[in-house]
């Protein structure tokens, strides 16, 4: 009798506190996800009232689709460079801005600001920068490489995307690293200094292991954000010139909505989900293992 009551109380508490969230989670995440999964087995075009079940046909077409593979490769390249550069830059910024530089609060705020600008607005601002300001500078001071817009050459447009992403995310990741730096116990650092560890040695052997949790979070966030990027891609290059910067989200979106192959697009999205999930979980698992307690 008492046990049953306890269960009821528990259930009641759960419903009161977590019920609304559970409901929201189911209606906006779980159900759409399952419905989306169901749609991958159909040939729905996105608008028709009727559609037929096609089994695994959509999944089979994915790996025959050279555009998808190419876009996936491009996305991997983009993720690798963006994650590496963003984390290197934000780690360095955090190191500098916790070392007692003059005006460090001002700089922290300054570097964080890009993160507050929405992706689309940011894309247009940078488009203007690449197309007009940079080319104008190139013409005025006569540097031939700057005279043509970055965005009109297939090789450089990719780097333009990487640059903007690094600029956008570095500030946010920097804040996470700064928290990490501030949490390194002073006594450990002092002990290290007494033992003669200075400069790079101190960073590598004392600080880095202690702020491993910051790495875990930052790398995870940058990985996930860069894999799924769409807004900056759309506003900055629209996938151009001639589709050379079409990252995977844009490719999937175009497949589903522009070419009206909703089933195939959805199936590609599921494959993308699996890839991103595997990579993120592996990354979190590996870096968790490296975390140490002070």
């Amino acid at each position: 009798m008492k046990k049953q009551n306890a269960l009821l109380t528990k259930l009641f508490t759960y419903t009161v506190f977590a019920g609304p969230v559970t409901l929201a989670f189911f209606t906006v995440i779980i159900i759409p996800f399952l419905y989306g999964l169901f749609l991958t087995f159909t040939n729905w075009d996105g608008v028709a009232s009727n559609f037929a079940m096609v089994g695994f046909e959509n999944y089979k077409t994915i790996f025959k689709d050279s555009g998808f593979i190419q876009s996936l490769k491009l996305t991997f390249k983009y993720v690798i460079f963006t994650v590496a550069i963003t984390n290197a830059v934000s780690f360095s910024l955090a190191a500098i801005l916790t070392s007692g530089t003059k005006g460090q609060n001002f700089f922290r705020a300054g570097f964080f600001t890009p993160n507050l600008i929405g992706g689309v607005a940011l894309g247009y601002v940078w488009q203007f920068f690449f197309n007009n300001i940079l080319t104008y500078m190139g013409k005025t001071i006569e540097i031939p490489t700057l005279q043509a817009s970055f965005l009109s050459s297939p090789g450089q447009a990719f780097w333009a995307l990487v640059m903007v992403a690094v600029w956008q995310y570095s500030g946010y990741m920097m804040i996470i690293y700064i928290t990490g730096f501030l949490n390194v116990p002073k006594d450990v650092l002092e002990a290290a200094s007494i033992d003669g560890a200075e400069g790079w040695t101190r960073v590598k052997h004392v600080i880095m292991p202690l702020i491993m949790p910051s790495f875990t979070i930052s790398v995870f966030l940058t990985l996930q954000r860069t894999f799924m990027v769409y807004d900056v891609n759309l506003a900055l290059t629209k996938g151009g010139p001639f589709k050379t910067t079409e990252l995977i989200s844009m490719y999937v979106y175009k497949k589903a909505f522009n070419e009206r192959a909703y089933g195939i697009g959805q199936a590609q999205a599921v494959v993308l989900f699996i890839i991103v999930a595997i990579i993120s979980i592996t990354q979190v698992y590996l870096s968790k293992k490296k975390e140490v307690e002070a």
């Binding site: 608008v47 297939p154 010139p241 909505f257 522009n258 070419e259």
Partner: protein, 450 residues
């Protein structure tokens, strides 16, 4: 420290409070405004609008350049029919309206009237209402409804006829001693470019957007195949079936020869892919170039830079050096925007209101005036005699009057994306003509065209 924190939190509270206040204050103001106007209007024409509840319908506009004009039309429609409010929703320039509509259907939030490209109309056949019995069908221009039918039902309203070709700025041409009407071969066009360059200006500007290159410039070669739809269809079917090779086609090669000449005299020659639709109107409007490949929809952006100069017009893009060849004197023109009425999400009343709006455009003086004079749209209806108020539209209207238009070919989004990308590569000298043909052939054999 503590004090400044308190001040900060107070400030934050203030800001939040204000924003709530603003959010609340806005709506009543707007609705009371609407009430006022509709009251005064219903007093003015009680005869028309006595019956019927207030109906609100939305209109998805995919011609960004006439957004403000359409809003005005919606307002004057509301004066005639106070119980119907039309809300105009914009869709960004260069983004496909089908894409947006598909997402809107996915969200179950579809406007009653949707402006689409005719090639996409058929895809929505089981959501769109059958318009075959509407009065305006008998007043539509011959040929303008061909692309708007699906399963023998008419589901689209031809909203706009548009034409595309080389826009010229007469001031630049006069200065260089060029007569636009005499240009009807590739070499004459090149001579014109040379003369313009000699006068210190540049010959032409080519917009590098995929929709311009893929959906308008390249399709000029399809239009130039024949003067009737069935022969053009036969040609396209040949391409899709593999029995016709694009590289062997004389018109396609002729068009690309002209394109090569245009590339040579392009103002953005050093960086051709940086020429965007947003910046090109300035170049032709302020007399930096003589020609621009675009359509009549570009008048309103050009106007901003042209000042009092309204001497602009079109010539077709020549496709050979023989002036008698078909296409050298004919401008591609087509129904480029169609309206469909949604039946899946909107109520019966909303559908009826949408039909009323269409009839108002075609038959009421105010609607005609809004369409032709304010939006500068070339109407597809023969009962409308108003002359369009912009030089580019006038130029197309005169081509239509003289029977000198060819059939503008409108194909799918994938065609514009794939062929547009291939043309961008060719424009930027990243590919040769053989590679261009290979990529276009890849599109045609991909099975997208049915």
């Amino acid at each position: 420290m503590n004090k400044s924190k308190k001040v900060l939190s107070l400030l934050l509270c203030g800001v939040m409070g204000l924003s709530f206040g603003v959010g609340c204050a806005k709506d009543p103001a707007v609705s009371s405004n609407q009430n006022q106007t509709s009251e005064s209007q219903s007093a003015a024409n009680t005869d028309k609008a006595g019956q019927g509840e207030a109906v609100k319908i939305a209109f998805l506009n995919s011609k960004g350049e006439i957004q403000a004009q359409l809003e005005n039309m919606a307002k004057s429609f509301n004066e005639d029919y106070p119980n119907i409010t039309v809300e105009i929703m914009p869709c960004p320039v260069g983004q496909s309206p089908t894409e947006i509509l598909t997402t809107m259907y996915a969200a179950n939030n579809t406007p009653a009237i949707v402006m689409l490209d005719p090639a996409d109309v058929a895809a929505f056949k089981d959501k769109a209402s059958d318009l075959s019995d509407e009065k305006w069908v008998s007043d539509a221009m011959p040929g303008s409804l061909d692309t708007l039918k699906a399963d023998d039902k008419l589901i689209g309203f031809p909203f706009a006829v548009e034409g595309w070709g080389l826009i010229y700025n007469k001031a630049v041409l006069d200065e260089a001693g060029v007569d636009a009407s005499a240009i009807n071969t590739t070499s004459e066009l090149e001579d014109a470019f040379k003369k313009i360059e000699a006068s210190g200006k540049k010959g032409v500007v080519i917009t590098s957007a995929d929709w311009s290159l893929g959906a308008h410039l390249f399709t000029t070669a399809y239009s130039g195949q024949a003067d009737n739809m069935s022969d053009i269809k036969a040609f396209l079917n040949g391409l899709a079936g593999g029995s016709t090779q694009i590289k062997d086609n004389a018109v396609v090669n002729g068009l690309l020869d002209t394109f090569d000449v245009m590339k040579k005299y392009n103002i953005a020659k050093s960086d051709p892919l940086s020429a965007t639709y947003e910046t090109n109107p300035e170049v032709i409007g302020s007399e930096k170039v003589g020609f621009w490949f675009m359509g009549n929809w570009a008048w309103s952006p050009i106007k901003d830079f042209a000042g009092d100069n309204t001497a602009f017009g079109f010539i077709p893009v020549p496709v050979s050096n023989n002036e008698a060849d078909y296409g050298n004197n004919h401008m591609p023109a087509a129904t480029t925007k169609a309206l469909i009425l949604d039946t899946a999400v909107n109520s019966k009343e909303q559908q009826e209101a949408a039909k009323t709006f269409l009839n108002w455009i075609v038959y009421e003086a105010k609607g005609q005036k809004g369409l032709v004079e304010e939006c500068s749209i070339i109407p597809a209806f023969t009962n409308i005699t108003l002359e369009i108020n912009d030089p580019l539209g006038k130029s197309i209207q005169s081509y239509i009057k003289d029977g000198k238009t060819s059939i503008g070919v409108m194909l799918s989004n994938k065609h514009w994306g794939d062929v547009g990308a291939a043309m961008q590569k060719y424009l930027g000298d990243y590919s040769t003509r053989e590679e261009l043909f290979a990529e276009i052939t890849t599109y045609w054999t991909s099975g997208d065209y049915k």
